[in-house]
Symmetry: C2
Subunit: 561 residues, 2 copies
């Protein structure tokens, strides 16, 4: 008997999952929402770009969620005991950096910074650092072009150094007081392991490589000259950070006595090096060669792996290509859409505020009755910018094709279609650079809840879609890495692939594209690409004159008029 | 003592207004909605382009509405008697043609065509004849280019021959059975005058010139060769129609005994030649040189007059330039926006269906708090196509600038702004061709109800706006023409201008543009023009890359971020 515990620190809550490594079953799970802010996020009414989290929430929820699963597991399996939890894996959102003191304590825990939102964790979707991202991109283009080669050519406002640079300007007192800055994905394992200084905290390759320009090719983090040219305040920053980053599955430390007591687990339980939620989610969803894993939530993260022993092309607009960041031995490729579920939620909440719950169902039911093209609407899914392939926050949503008869459920369907078109752009970009995509596994809440959306995606993208059976793919991935970090004698020396074969299960339905719909969607997609390129790229100069006309032709022909 | 009666056959109802020609006061008014269909319009669930009216409604409402005003006038003024109603004027929507038999009876009154919607009146906004409009434009370009010169270069699906041609194809039995086709604006005066054949009915220059390619320059209606080339079924059509058309103010006939009894008016009361609602509304609103009259309702009609003794330039995209069609002695210039109030109504009704009434007020209140540019949104007001200056039904509405925080009242304001930008395009087109616009008088329900909208229009267009005091400008214009048709001995031989001076009054408020807002709107307008030209014209090939970025810059700067 051996169990592994996966911990998933999401945007709004912490999830824990306990898996039985013998049977492959999920023994217990729990979800605990963050108590602070709005759904766990600290917002600023004056600045819609700001999104922070209270670091205290992480520790409060951590304790609750682990106790919950242990209690439930004990109830469920008579033989269960906390001693047979052989490993712990942790994933979190990211880039979500915290300012910490010399003892690895978040600055927000100090009385002088208490309630200072700049001393809080800067959540992945905080977009206050747009200008800083541009400065980093600009400088890298000028003096370190190779830094940009594996991140799609543009450094994002969501990433580590943009946030730290913005912090140094809006809250210099916090920046100066910080002994180090640490990703949440590194902070949680370090806390559990009882690390006492920032240097002792093991940093993960996933955050370092995807968000902090870390690569062994250039000796780790960006060099001093680059950082100091970026800002004189960055003198000494590199020394406050770290020299080396490690892949998940390696041991980040062993459970401290203090946390063992607090959680009710065995002292010295191995803790895996962390990673971002999406990456561990990809593993929990069964990622392998030629299989794209798409985590479909408020936004998406699209992940592929590609053997390290083959030459990886530079793919323009792809956000990240980092060795070992998803599965050891493979390049981890990461793409994503800046908003998907967030767009649907916004639409339903904003334009049908009285009945948010009823409306989802109502919209789906009505939207499902429409034929492809029948609404005459076409949308760009850029309400939160575009991550892949344009890497541009300064974009917005667009809807074209309104008539005086346009219905809300038609707009709703058009928004879903737009996100599918956005997904297709990513896949076509991958395949253009010889990364074959044979199948798509889609995790995340939306994939489970909406067969309508999944079928629409299959029709638009023209490939089969499968859905993991687990509703906690990220936590499951974390549990897999927890098992990898465990003593091999306790787990039977299984490989990551073997663990996936045992633990990753799928729902019976496979969504297959319907040819007739796919053909209509090919026409709509070509219109989407024209709008995409017209508003999203500098060089496009073809006429858009026929766009509305082609949409009306499609509308009239598909509604039989 | 002398009164004139104005009758206004609108899209949803008939309005009557009785004016005292001595005092200039409005003695009584009444509104009677059409009983058939949805708000008086017969729709087809399968074809959103179809809009018909039941001719019986016109006669039922005519009787009711006249009786109402006579009853009210008698109550209000002790000395009033129906004998001192010295003239009757009639305006209607148009082009709204009916199929009639040899006795001028609508075919729908015949049992074999009863309930046949093709034998009904084809309401001005029926858009089923798009293809036919294109055929007419195409043929005229090829063999009669001068036909297009005064109608903006494109024949519309809303106009007479498009509708008759479509009728001949979808309902050949109706087309063949018709002895003639008559505009509603000609039908009502003919009915009142007891005309017994289509040839006896006096046709108005307003409908003929603006909608049926009628001009004295080429001997009236389009010639036989043109019509027969258009369709072999049109052989003999010209002979079924009319030779000559007359301006409003001329006598179309005298009230028949039958209708005099029915209505309670004096037999032989003179009836003015008809005109379209907007044109008589322009007169009722006080149109004169350099003053644009804008009737702001479900759609708009923008009208100017220009002295016939000056050379009128050909203005591309302007829908109509017809001598004497608004004020005798002047060119009547007509432009328009295909949907304005319809867009606001659609939005509020569709996206806040539970509370349509509350929502208008709520939206206005919230929208008014926003600064120009603050929403980051920009819309194209083409939900029902674009009449001026693109003359293109095959266009649709567009909204760009959505974020995950976009609120309904922001969209609402953006839609109002879009219609103001559309209005500005028309004014700039007029001025480019030396038709000076010094002031704008805005009539119609929206102008009265929404000071917020009027101020926004003034800010965006950069000119002062005034509003007629009468809530029945069209019926007032009809009454003015009724007085012109009357026996001069009974009216004191007043001219149209003198009648306007006496009868047309204005609300005290004048909406003046606010310079600061106007400057921001100049920037937004230049973005609107880019979208307008990109989606609405063939030649445009400039990059739209900066559009979303400029909108975001404006948003961030105007919201102080």
């Amino acid at each position: 008997m051996a169990y592994s515990l996966g911990l998933d620190f999401g945007t709004n809550s912490v999830r824990a999952l306990l898996v039985n490594l013998k049977t492959g079953e999920e023994t217990a799970e729990s979800i605990v929402p963050y108590p602070s802010g709005t759904d766990g996020i600290i917002l600023d009414a004056k600045d819609p770009h700001l999104a922070r989290q209270n670091p205290a929430d992480y520790l409060i929820c951590l304790e609750k969620v682990v106790k919950n699963v242990l209690r439930d597991a004990a109830k469920k399996e008579a033989n269960f005991s906390p001693e047979i939890v052989v490993g712990i894996g942790v994933d979190t959102t990211g880039s979500t950096p915290l300012s910490v003191d010399a003892e690895l304590i978040p600055l927000s825990f100090h009385p002088e910074f208490s309630g200072n939102i700049h001393a809080y964790a800067w959540l992945w979707k905080d977009h206050t650092s747009t200008e800083e991202a541009e400065e980093i991109t600009h400088l890298a283009r000028k003096i370190r072009p190779h830094y940009l080669q594996r991140i799609g050519g543009v450094y994002s406002s969501e990433w580590f150094f943009s946030k730290i640079l913005h912090l140094s300007r809006v809250a210099p007192e916090v920046f100066q007081a910080a002994s180090s800055f640490i990703e949440l994905a590194d902070y949680i394992p370090a806390v559990l392991a009882g690390r006492r200084t920032p240097k002792e905290a093991v940093r993960c390759i996933c955050a370092a490589g995807h968000k902090a320009l870390y690569s062994e090719d250039w000796g780790g983090l960006p060099d001093d000259e680059f950082l100091i040219t970026l800002s004189p305040d960055f003198r000494g920053l590199r020394q406050k950070l770290y020299e080396k980053a490690y892949p998940a599955g390696k041991v980040a430390g062993f459970l401290s006595r203090q946390w063992a007591i607090k959680l009710g687990l065995a002292e010295n339980t191995p803790i895996s090096v962390g990673a971002f939620d999406a990456h561990m989610g990809a593993v929990g969803s069964g990622i392998k060669e030629e299989v794209l894993v798409k985590i479909l939530g408020t936004s998406t993260c699209d992940m592929m792996i590609f053997p390290r022993n083959q030459e990886l092309p530079a793919i323009p607009g792809l956000c990240g290509m980092v060795p070992d960041s998803i599965v050891p031995g493979y390049w981890g490729l990461e793409a994503g859409q800046s908003a998907v579920g967030d767009i649907f939620y916004w639409f339903v909440k904003t334009f049908m505020p009285e009945f948010p719950d009823r409306s989802y169902r109502y919209f789906e039911k009505e939207a499902e009755k429409l034929r492809p093209g029948e609404s005459g609407l076409l949308a760009l899914d850029w309400h939160n910018g575009n991550r892949t392939i344009l890497v541009d926050q300064k974009l917005t949503g667009l809807i074209v094709g309104f008539t005086l008869k346009t219905k809300p459920y038609e707009v709703y369907r058009a928004l879903i279609e737009a996100t599918a078109f956005g997904a297709r752009v990513i896949i076509e970009r991958l395949e253009k650079y010889r990364i074959k995509v044979s199948e798509i596994i889609t995790g995340g809440g939306i994939a489970e809840k909406s067969p309508f959306l999944m079928q629409l995606y299959a029709d638009i993208i023209g490939r089969p879609f499968r859905i993991p059976a687990s509703s906690q793919s990220c936590a499951l991935g974390a549990a897999i890495f927890g098992a990898l970090a465990a003593d091999p004698k306790k787990t039977g020396e299984t490989s990551l692939y073997q663990l996936q074969e045992k633990l990753c299960r799928f729902k019976p339905e496979i969504y297959q594209p319907r040819i007739e719909n796919h053909q209509v969607y090919n026409r709509l997609y070509s219109l989407y690409r024209r709008l995409h390129d017209a508003f999203g790229t500098k060089a496009y100069n073809e006429s858009l004159y026929s766009v509305m006309k082609e949409l009306l032709d499609l509308k009239w022909s598909s509604s039989g008029q």
